[in-house]
């Protein structure tokens, strides 16, 4: 078999970009002027082998790719390859002091640093027996809401929506609907602003520490967020309306949903770990129920439920298990969208992200409006040895940390289980089912749809990118 490199979908010299499939366009959208023929359209006779491979290089969240092998009408093999940084960070953290952990782990992901900081603080606070409550707890939740807003809106508008509207990428979407993109960027920025006010910085917040914060946000800075957040609430509801009006592929699967659940709140930074198939455990018992397995084709470990199989974390899981905990406007938006749980079509995760954005904005407003500055920016504690666990809801699903600390507060062992690696096996089974169902499509179109199926997960891997090098092995 010969491997040949082809240009990404529908891209050609001269910089003009067209979409290979030019599917449903919404009304009032200008039709694209030119649809270029694709560089590879293969005719495949029964019995021939087709390999679909999407490999890529990427900066931040890791390098990964999709490989699907089709023989005739049978999908023979599906691999989501991922090379990700947490393994390096687990080693890097050893012998470091506990107080460095939130700042170091924040650098694992440029999109969800707060998730890494919060899970790591929680795990270390578990060891030192620290309880962060009252206004400090609220500030943590507020910081996290800021991250949900910026991460969700980025994914909805700039990465996922173009798929559904038939655009190659956010650039085409910007040309066709500039006002929508401008509004989305403004909404995302409000999430970032929340992170700056509470976390001190938007990319790697520097104000987070074990026990709370280094300094409290200034009251006038918090108050200045109220007006933008009120605007954000309306815009987020508009995003729910837009996404609910999209057309979705018929693709429902029997997932085991896993998310946090809290007695009073929609889960963000605290709760028990529950599943749609009966799991209900404290965070500290995570590893008695879930395990990581090595797989040959990936540097990442695949998570499974012990004695069970793959499971799904992320917006769909949170929503299905915590619909009754949504805030009033988020609930209203969900009802208006007609999206009742259980939602079992991962393509609809885009609507759930929009509903969760409404929630995060509403929750931010509630916290700011009720905020009374605490006496101190952090809770005092005594360093002691032990093992502690933390788990919070990163925008893309639960993020579990475990640390072993010695009597001097030095890290002896670190374990980090990111949401994307927990979803990897489910991603593969989605792809297997999806490729089987759509196996008669030409390779390029099937490749694009498979990428879209992976993008549903908002994964921390490069196969979500719109700029992929495709390698197709011809039979």
């Amino acid at each position: 078999m010969r491997s040949k490199k082809v240009a990404p979908r529908g891209r050609r010299a001269g910089g003009r970009v067209t979409h290979p499939t030019a599917p449903r366009l919404r009304r009032n959208q200008p039709q694209k002027k030119i649809v270029t023929p694709l560089p590879t359209v293969e005719r495949v006779a029964t019995g021939q082998i087709r390999n679909i491979s999407v490999g890529a290089l990427a900066r931040v969240e890791g390098e990964g790719g999709i490989a699907i092998r089709l023989k005739g009408d049978v999908v023979q093999d599906v691999k989501v390859r991922i090379y990700e940084p947490p393994r390096f960070f687990e080693a890097f953290l050893r012998k470091r002091s506990y107080h460095e952990v939130p700042d170091i782990t924040a650098r694992i992901c440029g999109i969800c640093p707060v998730a890494y900081q919060t899970s790591s603080c929680q795990a270390i606070e578990h060891i030192f027996d620290v309880t962060v409550d009252g206004a400090l707890r609220d500030l943590r939740r507020l910081l996290y809401c800021g991250e949900w807003i910026e991460s969700h809106v980025l994914h909805i508008a700039m990465l996922h929506l173009p798929d559904f509207l038939g655009y190659e990428d956010a650039i085409q979407l910007s040309r066709a609907q500039p006002e929508l993109v401008k509004a989305a960027l403004r909404l995302k920025k409000i999430g970032n602003d929340v992170m700056v006010v509470v976390g001190g910085r938007e990319i790697h917040p520097v104000n987070v520490r074990v026990g709370g914060f280094y300094r409290l946000p200034r009251l006038e800075q918090l108050r200045a967020l109220v007006e933008p957040l009120r605007w954000a609430l309306g815009t987020a509801r508009e995003l729910v309306r837009i996404t609910a009006g999209l057309t979705f592929p018929d693709f429902t699967q029997d997932y085991e949903f896993v998310a946090l659940r809290h007695p009073d709140e929609y889960p963000v930074h605290e709760g028990r770990i529950v599943s749609s198939k009966g799991v209900d455990i404290a965070v500290k018992d995570y590893e008695s129920v879930f395990a990581e397995e090595h797989v040959e084709h990936s540097n990442a470990l695949h998570s499974v439920r012990k004695g069970g199989g793959s499971y799904l974390v992320g917006p769909l899981a949170r929503y299905n298990l915590n619909f009754d905990r949504l805030t009033p406007q988020a609930r209203e938006a969900a009802e208006a969208a007609g999206l009742r749980p259980p939602v079992t079509n991962q393509f609809q995760s885009i609507i759930v992200r929009a509903i969760e954005t409404v929630f995060a904005v509403e929750e931010s407003l509630r916290i700011i409006e009720h905020y009374e500055p605490p006496a101190a920016a952090s809770v005092p504690f005594q360093v002691r040895e032990g093992i502690g666990m933390g788990c919070t809801e990163a925008p893309r699903g639960i993020l579990y940390h475990r640390y072993k600390v010695d009597g001097h507060g030095l890290i002896q062992q670190a374990k980090i289980v990111p949401p994307t690696s927990q979803n990897l096996r489910t991603m593969e089974s989605d792809l297997r089912a999806f490729a089987t169902k759509h196996r008669h499509l030409p390779t390029d179109r099937l490749t694009w749809q498979c990428e879209q199926a992976v993008r549903n997960y908002d994964p921390c891997i490069s196969c979500a990118t719109h700029f992929l090098k495709l390698e197709v092995e011809s039979p």
């Binding site: 910089g15 990427a58 900066r59 890097f92 980025l154 700039m158 650039i171 990118t465």
Partner: protein, 160 residues
């Protein structure tokens, strides 16, 4: 519109040669060229679009994978022509810098002058040192400096 120049270094300091953009702008900052402001970015395109708002001139320093030999220095004038889409190290759910340039262009928000310096990198593996930077440092800083001088000749005096 500000007449100053914004130099944005893009990269990830934990991923080998991918740190080059960051290391370069730290060196540029040490030159203290008047009117030149320096910022670091991890590649969040939406943030880059906010950084350059109102600026007339922007230099972007980034790692590049385009198939040239490692250490090759590319200079792209993105002011009027699109950045070849796969030229920069774009990433997954990152809305990256190449996307930022083209989205800003589509929205009419691109600074008047956008120059990209791309260094062809070799190893971008987590936990490895940015070994290539020592090799390209002088050539890269000279190129950046020449660009700054072409924008404002008084910058020469400050480069020893």
């Amino acid at each position: 519109m500000s007449h100053g120049v914004l130099v944005i270094g893009i990269g990830n300091e934990f991923r080998g040669d991918d740190a080059i953009g960051l290391l370069a702008v730290r060196d540029v900052e040490a030159l203290h060229v008047p009117g030149v402001r320096v910022v670091e970015s991890r590649g969040d395109g939406a943030r880059v679009m906010r950084m350059w708002k109102g600026m007339a001139t922007v230099l972007l320093i980034d790692a590049v994978h385009s198939g040239s030999p490692p250490g090759t220095l590319h200079r792209l004038d993105a002011s009027h022509h699109p950045i070849p889409a796969r030229f920069l190290c774009t990433s997954s759910h990152q809305f990256g810098v190449a996307e930022a340039v083209e989205t800003a262009r589509a929205l009419g928000e691109l600074p008047e002058r956008v120059i990209v310096f791309g260094v062809e990198v070799e190893h971008c593996v987590a936990g490895t040192p940015p070994a290539l930077y020592a090799v390209v440092r002088d050539a890269l800083l000279n190129a950046i400096h020449a660009e700054l001088v072409s924008l404002d000749p008084s910058a020469t005096a400050l480069y020893r």
